[in-house]
C-alpha cells in the first residue's frame, strides 16, 4: 500500500515492471475503494444533510401540511359555530386531530421521491445499518413537518379561543407527539411506497396506530386547561416516543426491504 496517488496514475508501466506486487496492490486498492468512508455517524449525517437540502429546495412540500392545518382549523368554526365558548371546549381535540391529519398527509412523500429516482435502492445497498438511515430520514421529516406544525398550533389556538395557560403545553405535546407519529407513520409509508396508489391505504394502516398518541396529546392540553397538570400525559407521550424510537426503525427497515425487493 505504499503506492501513492501520484504513481497510481500510470498503472500500466507499474504492472509490467513487477507484476505480482502491483496486482496485490490493485486488489487492495479496490477493497479500500469499496469500503465506506467513515462510519455510521458520517452516513447518518450525510443522509440528514441530503434530505434537509432536498426538502428545503422543495419548499411547497414543507409548507403544504401547514396550509392544510390552517385550512382544516378554518373549516371547523364555519361548520360548527363561531361561538368562542363552544370552540374553546373542542379546541384541544380539534387542533390535535388537524395536526395529526396534516402530518399524515405529508407521509406519502417521505420515501416516494427516493423510491422513484432509485436512491432508495442505493440506501439499501449501503453497508451501514438501514434502521439508522431510516431513522435519519424520519428525523428530517419530523424537523420539517412535526416541529413547524407544533410551532404553528398556538397561533391557530388563538383563533379557536383556546383558554390561556395551555399554549405552551399544546406546542410541546405536539412536538413530542408528532415525533412518534412520524416514526409510526414511516412504517406505513415504507410498506406502501412500492404501490402506485398507496395514499388512502397508508391512512388506513396508520391512523389506528395513531390513536394512543392522540389520546395522550389531546389529553395533555385538556389537562392543562383544567389545571390538573399535564406532566403525566407528557410523560406517557415521551414513553410512547421512546418505545417507537426503539422499535419503529427495525420495522421501517424491514418494510423498505419488502417494498424494494419485490
Amino acid at each position: 500500500m505504499s503506492v501513492s496517488a501520484g504513481e497510481g496514475k500510470m498503472p500500466s508501466a507499474d504492472t509490467r515492471m513487477n507484476g505480482s506486487d502491483s496486482k496485490r496492490d490493485n486488489g487492495d486498492r479496490q477493497v479500500t475503494a469499496g469500503e465506506p468512508r467513515g462510519g455510521l455517524t458520517v452516513a447518518v449525517w450525510a443522509t440528514l444533510k441530503r434530505d434537509l437540502t432536498l426538502l428545503m429546495r422543495r419548499r411547497s412540500e414543507v409548507l403544504n401540511p401547514l396550509v392544510f392545518f390552517a385550512l382544516v382549523i378554518t373549516l371547523f368554526p364555519i361548520g360548527i359555530s363561531p361561538d368562542p365558548e363552544l370552540l374553546a371546549t373542542i379546541a384541544p381535540g380539534l387542533l390535535w386531530v388537524a395536526a395529526l391529519l396534516a402530518a399524515l398527509l405529508s407521509l406519502d412523500s417521505l420515501f416516494r421521491g427516493d423510491y422513484e429516482d432509485g436512491s432508495l435502492e442505493q440506501l439499501l445497498l449501503t453497508p451501514q445499518p438501514l434502521p439508522m438511515l431510516g431513522l435519519a430520514k424520519v428525523a428530517v421529516h419530523w424537523l420539517l413537518t412535526g416541529l413547524p406544525l407544533a410551532l404553528m398550533a398556538p397561533v391557530l389556538g388563538i383563533m379557536l379561543a383556546l383558554p390561556a395557560g395551555s399554549y405552551l403545553i399544546l406546542a410541546f405535546s405536539l412536538a413530542l407527539g408528532t415525533a412518534s407519529l412520524s416514526l409510526i407513520g414511516a412504517i406505513g409509508a415504507a410498506l406502501t411506497v412500492g404501490l402506485s396508489r398507496g395514499g388512502v391505504l397508508l391512512s388506513l394502516l396508520v391512523l389506528p396506530l395513531y390513536i394512543p398518541v392522540l389520546i395522550f396529546g389531546a389529553g395533555a392540553v385538556q389537562a392543562a386547561i383544567m389545571g390538573d397538570g399535564a406532566a403525566a400525559h407528557l410523560a406517557i407521550l415521551g414513553a410512547l416516543l421512546a418505545l417507537s424510537l426503539m422499535l419503529a426503525p427495525w420495522a421501517i427497515a424491514a418494510s423498505l426491504r419488502i417494498s424494494i425487493n419485490g
Binding site: L195, L201, L205, L207, P208, G219, I236, A251, I258, G262
Partner: protein
Amino acid sequence: MWAFINKLRSPKWFYAISERLLPWFWVAAAALILVGSVWGLAFAPADYQQGNSFRIIYVHVPAAFLAQSIFVSMAVCGLVYMVWKIKVADMVAAMMAPLGAAMTFISLFSGAVWGVPTWGTWWMWDARLTSMLILFFLYLGVIALRGAFASRDSASRAASVLAMVGVINIPIIKYSVDWWYTLHQPATFTVTGRVGMPMEMWVPLLIMVLGFYSFFIAVTLMRTRSEILRRESNKRWVRDLAGGER
C-alpha cells in the same frame, strides 16, 4: 424437534394432517356451540338487573375473545413466516384475517344490540367498544395491505410486518383507550355484571367460548387446505391428488 419443524414446512404434510384433525374440530365445534347456546339461551337464569337481554353475552364474549386471539395468532404466524420462511404459516395467517375481522364485527354488532336495552342507545363510546372498533380497523388494514400488492411474496411479508406492528400496538391502544374512557366518564352505568357471574351463567359461557375456538380452528384448517391446493396447484402431489379424485 427439527424433524417436526421440517415437516411443518411442507404444505403436503399439513394437508395430510389437517385432513385427519378436521372432523374432530367440526364435531367439537358443533357439539359445544349447540350445548352452549341451548344451555345459555334456555336454561341459564336471567340476570336480576338486565333480564333476558344479558343472554347476548353468549355470542358477544366468545366473538370478542376470538377477535383478539386471532389477531395475536396472525402476528405469531407472521413472525414464523418472516423468521423461518414457512409458507404454511403465511397461508394460515392470510386465511385467518377475514374470519378475525368477521368476529370483530360480530362482537361490535352484538355489543351495539346489547346497548339498546342496557344503555338505551345503539352506540356508546364505551372503552371496550372503542378498542374493538380500532381492532376492526387494524384487521381491515392488514387485509387491504395484503390485497394491494401484485406479488404474493411481498404481500405476505408486508402483511406479516403489519400484523406484528399491530400486535405490539394492541395493548398500548387498549390501555390508552381505557385511560381516555376513565377521564371522560359519562353519566351512565356500565356493564360490570360479568365479574361476579354465578356458576350457572358462567359454565355455558365457557362452553360457548370453547365452541367458538373449535369453530375458528376448523374453519381456518379448511380454508388453509384449499389455499394450499390453490397455491401449490402446479406441484406434482396436488396434481396426483386431483387426478386420483377425478
